[in-house]
């Protein structure tokens, strides 16, 4: 038997992931050994510390990436500039949304249910209304984030699949943990889980097909097989289509978007914010790597199909957003539409497309987290009041928060001086440069359609009289205020001074194969 040669493992490069996974394991132990009264504080501090530490190591690594030291563990993980940028972006967005997890002043015990196993509506359920919420969400969020970091740096499809599962499973769980409207929350978790399992199965099936085609699952082998292969590309096309389905599900592109509104509505709002910002970013990071590194040779095959998907996504998101009456669902459809815009940038197929997509992901992430933070503020006796009609006249009641929300909606709509404008400008520009003008036409058209529901909310908030049922806007605690502040300032800054981030994204927009 030949001697086993163990691959070199660059622990310094893997440190961010290892820190997150390690902290998550410690978090699980904390659940077992730390008294319930202080658990929330301990968990929150631990998770934040872990994320900051991971971020520090990501930043320290920046600028040291070379073609030699990027790949580690025999090429299973590729921490190139692009991967590093995505890691940093995910950590920052995750950090911000984790602050929402810790918020306990808006509602007694936080946004999560203390014991999810208690039957909804039972005596015990009413008793637990005053209990402190479940703190398992922190380790779950850390596991999820660790999986996302692995997802965007995975350099072969098998590692990518494991990462996909690692970051999805905690999300399914967290969706079921809302304190209010628990049945809705559990339903959303079940839907997400079932559909997610199907999507994973598609992904895995595709990996098997691609293995058959390329005789390997790492991107270099796939790249070479796509370029040099004389055999029929049928296996490649089947495999690519199935893998793409798995990834498009995660980014909520039509027609694989059907879970989005239900899950966004049912999940606890902090989790929704986390999903909207981080899952989307991670899935796009992986999609970019798959398409640009592995399958760039098959560009002529996938561009028209994915272009059609992008158009469909934009149309579905924009048109259905118009008909929504629930704010969380509206934001969900807006997130679907945004997935379409991101795909436009991605299909640009050039360096600009890459950097503009990265910029869009970060800008959108900040805005959407802030928007969901604000949604969690407007509440009545039954929890969050998310129905649109309830928001009527909110501008009179609390002009500050209504103003912030208006600003965020304008950013979604892509009005100049907000990050949304710069982001859309970037992706459309890249698509035109990449000869995908038809996508841009659809993008602009749907943007106009999409502006309508946003403006309707704005009009409702400012121009209606506050009625009897208009809920009050709670005074946010420190954590939510911080999230709101960071999100809003980032949205403004990226709109006014996009230069530094654009430059960063530009530097990051290169893969190492």
């Amino acid at each position: 038997m030949p001697e086993l040669k163990l691959p070199d493992i660059d622990y310094a490069a893997l440190l961010p992931m290892l820190i997150l996974f390690g902290a998550a394991c410690v978090g699980v132990l904390i659940e077992g050994f730390v008294p319930r009264s202080v658990r929330n504080m301990v968990q929150l501090v631990l998770s934040l510390a872990a994320m900051v530490a991971a971020l520090v190591f990501v930043i320290r690594r920046a600028g040291e990436v070379t073609a030699e030291n990027a790949a580690t563990i025999g090429g299973a993980i590729m921490i190139d500039n692009m991967g590093l940028f995505m890691e940093g972006a995910l950590l920052v967005l995750g950090l911000v949304s984790l602050l929402l997890f810790g918020e306990r002043t808006l509602e007694r015990g936080g946004a999560f249910v203390p014991h999810a196993a208690v039957t909804v509506g039972s005596e015990r359920d009413r008793e637990q209304a005053v209990d402190s919420g479940a703190t398992e969400v922190y380790p779950l969020a850390l596991f999820s984030l660790g999986g996302m970091l692995m997802f965007v740096t995975a350099n072969d499809l098998l590692t990518m699949f494991v990462a996909l599962e690692v970051f999805s499973l905690p999300l399914y769980l967290m969706c079921a943990l809302a304190r209010r409207k628990r049945l809705l929350s559990q339903e959303s978790a079940l839907k997400y889980f079932l559909l997610g399992a199907y999507a994973s199965a598609f992904f895995l099936f595709g990996v098997a097909m691609i293995y058959g085609f390329a005789k390997g699952v790492d991107f270099r082998a796939i790249h070479e097989a796509v370029r040099g292969s004389e055999t029929s590309p049928t296996l490649l096309l089947i495999g690519l289509a199935l893998v793409a389905i798995g990834l498009l599900f995660k980014i909520a592109a039509a027609p694989f978007h059907v879970w989005t509104p239900d899950v966004y509505q049912g999940a606890p709002t902090p989790v929704t914010a986390f999903m909207a910002a981080c899952t989307k970013a991670a899935a796009f990071g992986a999609l970019l790597r798959v398409l640009y590194v592995g399958f760039d040779g098959a560009k002529w095959h996938f561009t028209p199909v994915l272009g059609a998907v992008a158009v469909l996504t934009m149309l579905v998101g924009a048109v259905l957003a118009v008909t929504q009456t629930d704010l969380k669902r509206l934001l969900a459809y807006s997130s679907v539409a945004n997935a379409g815009y991101l795909m436009v940038g991605l299909l640009g197929g050039n360096k600009d497309g890459l950097s503009s997509t990265l910029f869009y992901l970060v800008a959108y992430g900040f805005t959407v987290i802030a928007a969901f933070a604000l949604v969690s503020l407007v509440r009545d006796a039954d929890g969050e009041a998310t129905h649109l009609s309830r928001w009527a006249g909110l501008g009179r009641r609390s002009p500050l928060f209504a103003g912030i929300f208006t600003f965020l909606l304008l950013a979604f709509a892509g009005i100049p001086l907000t990050s949304g404008f710069m982001a859309k400008f970037g992706v459309f520009g890249a698509a035109i440069a990449g000869d995908q003008t038809w996508l841009v036409i659809f993008g602009v058209l749907t943007s106009i359609v999409l502006a309508f529901p946003y403006l309707r909310v704005v009009v409702m908030m400012w121009l209606s009289e506050p009625g009897e049922t208009t809920p009050s806007v709670s005074i946010p605690g420190v954590l939510t205020s911080a999230v709101l502040g960071i999100g809003t300032v980032a949205t403004l800054l990226l709109g006014v001074l996009p230069g530094p981030l654009l430059e960063l994204a530009d530097q990051a927009s290169s893969f190492i194969r």
Partner: protein, 248 residues
């Protein structure tokens, strides 16, 4: 090893229909336990396929893990649910089933045909090389070299699953809610509680009904002898009368 050996072909053509039948049976069976059993058949066939295709380790693991453990847990739950519990067959979306069948068959046909076309005349390579040092050793080599990180991170998946099971299924008892054997005994002998067994009803003493109370030594009916869930029943005079004993 480019061709298919006879034994392999025989095994395939025996098991392939079985596994398809199992899959169809799983979808169509009305009874949930039967459904699970059909799935077991499919998984077993798949395990044997792996073994036949020179992957004995993965085949055995398929049988041990999927049929031996996972499906067993499924059965466990189904048995607790009850044997007569069957799904409601009313469609909430009209025509959903037809559309699902058409699309499903279409997708299966597309993938099957595509794979068939693509693998026509494809030479099988690399199997001997992969199994050169033994199937198990070859797998171990891959798991502990290039895929070691993915392998280790799978533990995160398992921890998540365990935590999830605890969150979604385990209700933590509050302090004082759990009563131990000693405490129960102590409670049983507290004042106001009769520690002995309750008297049985007076069935057969004067009537054949369990609603007949037993009689205390002084002739009065013992209320504790009747189960509280029984409806109260008017007793006839004969049943009410004291039974004559030898002494009188």
């Amino acid at each position: 090893m480019s061709g298919v050996e006879t034994g392999e072909a025989v095994a395939f053509f025996l098991l392939a229909p079985l596994s398809v039948i199992g899959a169809l049976g799983m979808v169509m069976a009305r009874n949930a336990v039967h459904s699970a059993l059909w799935l077991v058949l499919t998984m077993l066939s798949l395990g044997v396929f792996y073994i036949v295709q020179a992957g004995p380790f993965i085949g055995m693991v398929q049988i041990i893990v999927y049929t031996g453990a996972i499906m067993m847990l499924f059965l466990f739950v189904l048995m607790l649910v009850g044997r007569d519990a069957s799904d409601s067959v009313i469609e909430t979306l009209r025509g959903q089933r037809v559309v699902a069948i058409v699309l499903g068959v279409g997708l299966a046909g597309l993938l099957g045909l595509g794979t068939y076309r693509a693998t026509q005349g494809l030479a099988v390579t690399g199997l001997d090389e992969a199994n050169k040092a033994g199937n198990v050793q070859g797998l171990a080599r891959l798991i502990f070299t290039n895929y070691v990180f993915a392998f280790e991170v799978t533990s995160a998946l398992l921890i998540t699953a365990a935590v999830g099971a605890m969150i979604l299924a385990h209700v933590e008892r509050r302090r004082g809610e759990r009563v131990g054997q000693a405490a129960k005994m102590r409670e049983r002998f507290l004042p106001g509680n009769y520690p002995g067994p309750k008297a049985g009803p007076g069935v057969y003493a004067t009537s054949t009904s369990v609603a007949t109370p037993a009689k205390l030594p002084d002739g009065s009916p013992a209320p504790r002898s009747i189960s509280p869930i029984l409806p109260t029943r008017e007793l006839t005079a004969a049943e009410k009368a004291n039974k004559h004993t030898e002494g009188r």
